[in-house]
């Protein structure tokens, strides 16, 4: 069977697992194209108006796959919980229901199961068994396929921990072991990206922040590269843990990077009308006020203009450079030179 996987939301977290599972069962995978203008338009026209842009984009990807004739089923998992007593956003927990009511005619082409990816392999296996039964595979095959899937996910986590972005993982999904061994080059400046993986890595919706930063020779770290153990002690500052695993990762990871001496600044990315990110952005704001490290919030929507974003990123990098005493970007090759690291403008 040919199974379509929308390149949005939890694709940016669990793609390796799904890849391992479906391909070892012998099913063909069809990824939707990376987000583009057309997909956003599809999504906006098929969803309600005040839902967040990430979910709108997801609508677009699903519609794109449903319109393709060579895709039999579209995989829309319900990721209910990723850690004990931590849940996902209500909109994501209701995702298959949303898809079924948005695309009524194709409701039977949506392949879904409820995932509790929190406590080891058992809940994952039950969810995958449900999927395997819908696809008509034998139990033994499913069991070995789940193991392959989990193995892939572990390798992906390892390569994230070694400093590679998830985009690299998707590119090198066939050969993750060499990716883990590949060293990450260190740049003079490092900027941390805090946010949900699907906002950080969706290069079209967020105006390609990652490559814009790379153009300025800035190294990138993201909150999903961190092991939760290093930042769990920040729950004391937060008084009460947030209920969403990814939001916790963004908030605490952001705080960890604010404290970290290797990181020059933190950019938090969120999508318009995302309710959860409004909480951790406030927390990051208050925390950066105490520590004194620059934090910038970027909120993306379907109308993000490129020029405005480029200006903001330039200004942020200027700020980082001035803090380090390197002068502004525009004066890098300038004849007047700098004095004690601070640029002096001669009139």
């Amino acid at each position: 069977m040919k199974i379509g996987i929308p390149r949005a939301l939890y694709f940016y977290v669990y793609y390796p697992m799904w890849y391992g599972f479906f391909s070892s069962l012998g099913h063909e995978l069809r990824l939707s194209v990376p987000t583009n203008k057309e997909i956003i338009n599809l999504g906006v026209s098929h969803s309600v108006d005040d839902i967040c842009i990430s979910v709108k984009v997801f609508h677009g990807h699903v519609k794109y796959l449903l319109d393709k004739k060579d895709v039999d089923l579209v995989f829309v998992p319900r990721i209910a919980s990723e850690e004990k007593y931590k849940y996902t956003c209500p909109k994501l927990a209701a995702l298959p229901d949303l898809m079924k009511s948005a695309f009524v005619r194709d409701a039977n082409r949506i392949l879904t199961a409820t995932f509790y990816t929190r406590q080891g392999e058992k809940p994952i296996i039950t969810a995958f068994e449900e999927i395997g039964r819908q696809l008509g595979d034998s139990d033994e095959k499913i069991k070995s396929a789940v193991k392959v899937g989990i193995e892939y996910q572990k390798l992906a986590t390892k390569s994230l921990r070694s400093g590679h972005t998830f985009l690299d993982v998707v590119k090198n999904i066939r050969d993750l072991e060499t990716l883990i061994k590949k060293p990450v080059s260190k740049q003079r400046y490092t900027v941390a990206l805090a946010g949900f993986p699907y906002d950080v890595y969706d290069t079209f919706t967020n105006g390609d922040i990652i490559s814009k930063l790379e153009d300025f020779n800035v190294g990138i770290v993201a909150t999903d590269m961190l092991n939760p153990r290093v930042y769990n002690h920040y729950s004391k500052y937060m008084i009460k843990d947030l209920f969403w695993y990814q939001a916790n990762a963004a908030a605490k990871g952001g705080m960890y990077y604010i404290d970290s001496p290797d990181v020059d600044g933190v950019i938090s990315i969120s999508s318009f009308n995302c309710g959860i990110s409004s909480i951790y952005q406030k927390l990051l704001d208050l925390y950066s006020k105490e520590v004194g490290k620059p934090v910038m919030h970027i909120i993306v929507d379907e109308q993000t203009g490129d020029a405005g974003l480029a200006t903001r990123i330039e200004a942020f990098i200027d700020l980082i450079r001035v803090k380090r005493g390197d002068g502004l970007v525009t004066q890098e090759n300038n004849l007047h030179g700098t004095e004690n690291g601070v640029h002096v403008r001669s009139l």
Partner: protein
């Protein structure tokens, strides 16, 4: 031991604020109620809270901030009802604390009341710790008495409200029932703390409202209200939607009230959930927090009870309600019931709001006419 005199401040819940007030008064504390939502509280709340935070949070922050500003010489305990679940409702109190501390207020602490949540060996002691922090050390019978009196006051207020919205579209002199109702609410508020006295006042006032000249009729269009609890229950947040609909000549019913909300969440939680899953089958059979599932369930139940339309009131960007809104479009098609979704935020203008309500009511009325017309015609054809 601190010798500061503690004053309580509690979120308003529509007309039922009197009950919360008397709960703490029986325990022997001072209570200062925040003023009803108005432009100033909203302005205050919006300017200090995160941009995309839920609207109820902004309202409450503004109200609490006004209370703290006006009484700098008192020490406050701010009560915040919370749940632990996938909705943002559970993270209000830490944010109040952090934002108000950042603003420079020191004369307050936030007490959050939340249910028992797993793990149980931590959850149950935490619950009782919070309860003691909320009420202070008192003899248990005083706390129970306070609960009972508060419960009765909530019940009495809701009975009066039901009567009011039933009588407004039927009264002969427009506005006369409301005047009686306002006086009745004041009487309930200042009622002596005895169940008998509250009962007596309730009966008297209901009788008074019944005596107000009106014409009993049951051919009015019926509209049900569903949506997020706080927006729905407090009249000052939803721009008095119930009263406005009632004055337009509509029989209006609100799905969530303080009594059934607490009963469904605390005492009848299990059967309530089972009932919800049964009704919602095929639409949303997964717990998503907030009142999203209730909105879908109540819409279906309203249709089955013969209502002509449903209005969903939600704060802008509410997580469970936006999910419910998308599914409600399908419910509305399948069950053939008009659903109007209204999102409330700080920019909701009254004029535009009234226009939308009027258009909706007109639509419902014309649908009713068409229906009765069709029925008549079919009747005629049968005769032939």
């Amino acid at each position: 031991m601190s010798h500061k005199k503690i004053t309580y401040t509690v979120p308003r819940m529509g007309y039922t604020y009197a009950a919360f007030e008397s709960f703490f008064q029986i325990l022997g504390y001072d209570v200062i109620m925040p003023e009803p939502t108005n432009n100033e509280t909203i302005k205050e709340g919006v300017s200090n809270s995160p941009e995309y935070m839920c609207f109820p949070f902004k309202i409450l922050l503004g109200q609490f901030e006004r209370v703290l500003e006006k009484n700098p010489d008192r020490y406050f305990k701010m009560v915040s009802l919370e749940s632990y679940g996938p909705c943002r409702f559970g993270y209000y109190s830490p944010l109040y604390y952090k934002i108000l501390k950042d603003k420079g207020f020191t004369n307050f602490e936030v007490v959050n009341v939340e249910g028992i949540y797993p793990p149980l060996y931590k959850g149950i002691p935490r619950f009782f710790k919070k309860l003691i922090k909320l009420t202070g050390w008192h003899a248990p019978w005083i706390v129970v008495k306070a609960f009972v009196i508060a419960g009765w006051k909530v019940y009495a207020t809701e009975q009066l409200e039901k009567k009011l919205y039933h009588l407004i579209p039927r009264e002969k002199v427009s506005g006369s029932t409301e005047r009686i109702f306002d006086k009745a609410i004041e009487r309930i508020r200042h009622a002596p703390n005895k169940v008998k006295a509250i009962k007596k006042i309730l009966n008297e006032e209901i009788e008074k409202m019944d005596k107000n000249p009106h014409v009993e009729r049951d051919d009015l269009p019926k509209v049900g209200l569903v949506g997020e609890a706080y927006i729905l229950m407090d009249y000052s947040n939803n721009l008095d939607i119930e009263k406005k609909l009632a004055y337009m000549g509509v029989d209006v019913d609100r799905s969530l009230r303080v009594t059934n909300w607490t009963l469904d969440r605390l005492i009848k939680a299990k059967s309530h959930k089972a009932h919800m899953l049964e009704v919602n089958k095929g639409y949303l059979d997964f717990f998503i927090g907030g009142d999203g599932q209730e909105s879908i369930m109540n819409t279906i139940l309203y249709k089955k009870a013969g209502y002509d339309g449903v209005i969903q009131a939600q704060p802008f960007g509410c997580l469970p309600e936006t999910a419910a809104k998308e599914i409600l479009t399908k419910v509305s098609e399948d069950y053939d019931i008009p659903v109007l979704s209204l999102a409330f935020d700080e920019q909701t203008g009254e004029a535009g709001f009234v226009t939308r309500l009027e258009a909706f009511v007109d639509m419902i009325k014309s649908r009713r006419q068409i229906k009765t017309h069709e029925e008549k015609e079919s009747h005629v054809t049968v005769k032939n």
